[in-house]
């Protein structure tokens, strides 16, 4: 069961970065996910689309170790995980990073703490090496897009950043940890036009740098633009898979509207 538990996999010869097999999720008597089979290739951008409450967020929470599935199997780099051991911390060790719309950064904390929280650089007694953490955070800030000379320092609190800046920080953090899979949960919600462009550019950069990305998005035009394929989720089930070249944004919108009308 647990051959992959906690093991740092460096093998590049895998086929799928993450694969879910027969995953189900119940919240008490409420069934949130039905028999989900989903594989994410090692270098593709997969869009997850569907209405509010369709189960997209639950799906990625299971994928990234935030929630345990009620049943089913999870494979990372083709080897099966022990579900009891799977956690956010383990996902991080397996190079899976998540950027949430509004839950990735703590508002009142300085940026450098936000970069390292959950995996601090500490001595063996657990005391944080502040100088080293700040130094690395400073490097990430400089290298992240849009932050050169913007008057933001590693000591700035997140509350003082704009929405786009927050996404930039969260994405920069994921890049720093050399994630093989970056999960984006509506990163462009509540962003201005210019900032949306930056985020989409970043999503393309994930692809060109040889990584994989799972991308949840409500704006179909954005996801149509960058995704290799789009998975349509409806009422806890995967109902279809669409390739952008097979369907225009308008057709896709119409399809989703029709889907909602079915009962």
């Amino acid at each position: 069961m647990s051959q992959a538990a906690g093991v740092q996999v460096v093998d590049r010869s895998f086929q799928n970065i993450v694969r879910l097999e027969g995953v189900q999720k119940f919240f008490g008597p409420v069934r949130a996910l039905y028999d989900i089979d989903l594989a994410i290739g090692r270098n593709e951008i997969v869009g997850l689309i569907g209405d509010n409450g369709a189960g997209k967020s639950t799906l990625i929470k299971i994928m990234t170790g935030v929630l345990p599935p009620s049943s089913g199997r999870i494979f990372v780099r083709d080897s099966e995980l022990s579900l009891a051991d799977y956690s956010v911390r383990m996902a991080h060790e397996l190079s899976i990073e998540t950027v949430y719309q509004d839950r990735s950064l703590a508002d009142k904390q300085p940026l450098w703490r936000n970069f390292f929280v959950g995996r601090q650089i500490t001595n063996r007694f657990g005391f944080i090496n502040v100088r080293k953490e700040k130094g690395i955070a400073h490097q990430i800030l400089k290298e992240s897009f849009g932050f050169r000379g913007a008057g933001i320092t590693v000591d700035s609190t997140v509350a003082n950043l704009s929405g786009g800046e927050r996404q930039g920080i969260a994405i920069g953090r994921a890049m720093h940890y050399k994630a093989d899979l970056i999960v984006l949960d509506e990163p462009t919600a509540a962003l201005g036009v210019a900032e949306v462009r930056k985020v989409l550019d970043f999503v393309r950069m994930i692809k060109t740098s040889g990584r994989a990305c799972v991308y949840i998005e409500h704006n179909l035009a954005h996801i149509h633009e960058v995704a290799d394929r789009m998975i349509v989720v409806d009422r806890g089930r995967i109902v279809s898979e669409v390739r952008p070249k097979d369907m225009s944004v308008a057709d896709l919108t119409e399809y989703l509207v029709q889907l909602q009308k079915q009962t």
Binding site: S87, V88, D107, Q109, G118, T122, G151, I152, N160
Partner: protein, 385 residues
């Protein structure tokens, strides 16, 4: 345009506003009542009465910083104090009679008496840890809001102390001859020729060391960082990989441990256990933490602020009495200081309000409250953009 948070010296020196307020109040009292505040004895008295409150407030700084509250710590002062007092006073007699040790046996010896008293200290600490751990489980695992859970445990543990003690108090006569007393609350310089040095209580040294250590835990340790992130947002803490439930249990357990130390200092210092001991500490400790600048909403906490918050709360009483007002005014003034500081921190918390506040305070000059360093940051910022 300057980023507001860089402009304020109040953000860069921990607890600066409260330190300034404390110094102003102290100077005021020194001016109004020099016969009390320019002589050392008021301060040596503080050093023996403040440590328990200080330890409670330090623990609460973590709890409130993590967005929780603990109302049960006065009951730890009661229960752990009772555990210590009864073992201290009667422990040896029990053991001697239970084991039927003969007159000259080891367990009846003075050395065994000392060891049993130290055992009482350990059991009192364990009692505090247990109470804190139970609080943590009730809050984190069972999901009772901490206000309610610790209100319940507060009644329970005071009740337990009353049941087990039969409502009696325990006077610890002769305690000052024991190594426990001398080590924990003794007067190490009592043979000094300077009169005020004779009165220096050693628990103030232990408390100071604990405070320094806890500052490092809050500001430099993984645990303190997790507490602040949890106070900031539970969902964010979960997705960055913090085990929120476990950290909360640890926080409450730590609070129980610190409260037990406070109980030991308190009981040893007054050489007495009485049934409702600790009851006056609840609001004083909470007020000290909040006056110090720890956010009632969680996510921001300051040890230095808490220390000076304790100083301010403590100095009001002798200060008002010495300046000729009656003691009846003490809580009125404390309440006033409390409310003013809460309003001040609310404004500091929110950048747009902060600018407006400073503008008002300085007669229109925006965010000019920080002095020269403040202006430097203001003028340097545009070139960086």
């Amino acid at each position: 345009m300057a980023r507001p948070e860089k402009a304020s010296i109040f953000q860069r020196v921990e607890g600066l506003p409260i330190i300034v307020v404390f110094i102003v109040i102290l100077l005021l009292f020194m001016y109004l009542a020099p016969e009390v505040f320019l002589r050392p004895f008021q301060y040596t008295t503080f050093l023996s009465t403040l440590p328990p409150v200080m330890l409670l407030a330090i623990g609460l700084t973590f709890i409130i910083g993590a967005g929780e509250i603990d109302l049960s710590f006065p009951a730890v002062i009661g229960f752990s104090g009772f555990v210590l007092a009864i073992i201290f006073k009667e422990g040896q007699d029990w053991i001697v009679s239970a084991t039927e040790t003969p007159e000259g046996g080891f367990l009846a010896s003075p050395l065994a008496a000392e060891l049993i008293r130290w055992g009482g200290v350990v059991v009192a600490l364990l009692a505090g840890v247990l109470i804190g751990f139970i609080n943590g489980v009730l809050v984190a695992k069972i999901g009772i809001p901490s206000f309610i859970a610790t209100l319940g445990t507060q009644f329970f543990w005071y009740g337990m102390a009353t049941v087990l003690s039969g409502g009696k108090s325990y006077a610890l006569r002769g305690a000052e001859d024991s190594t426990v007393w001398r080590t924990l609350v003794g007067r190490p310089l009592s043979s000094s020729s300077v009169d005020w040095m004779q009165r220096l209580p050693i628990q103030s040294l232990w408390t100071a060391l604990i405070i320094v250590f806890m500052w490092f835990v809050l500001n430099r340790h993984r645990f303190g960082e997790h507490a602040l992130f949890i106070g900031d947002s539970n969902p964010v803490s979960r997705v960055v990989g913090i085990d929120v439930e476990r950290e909360k249990i640890k926080l409450f357990t730590m609070m129980g441990f610190l409260a037990a130390i406070a109980a030991i200092f308190q009981t040893m210092e007054v050489k007495n256990y009485f049934g409702n001991q600790g009851q006056g500490y609840l609001l004083i400790a909470i007020a000290s933490v909040l006056i110090g600048g720890t956010s009632i909403f969680g996510g921001r906490a300051t040890i230095i602020g808490t220390v000076f918050g304790c100083f301010i709360i403590a100095i009001v009483e002798p200060g008002l009495v010495a300046t000729g007002l009656t003691g009846a005014w003490v809580n009125t003034v404390r309440g006033l200081i409390f409310l003013i500081s809460i309003i001040f921190y609310l404004h500091i918390d929110q950048p747009h309000r902060r600018g407006a506040l400073f503008a008002r305070l300085t007669g229109g000059r925006a965010s000019g409250g920080g002095g020269p360093a403040d202006n430097q940051a203001e003028s340097a910022a545009p070139s960086r953009r």
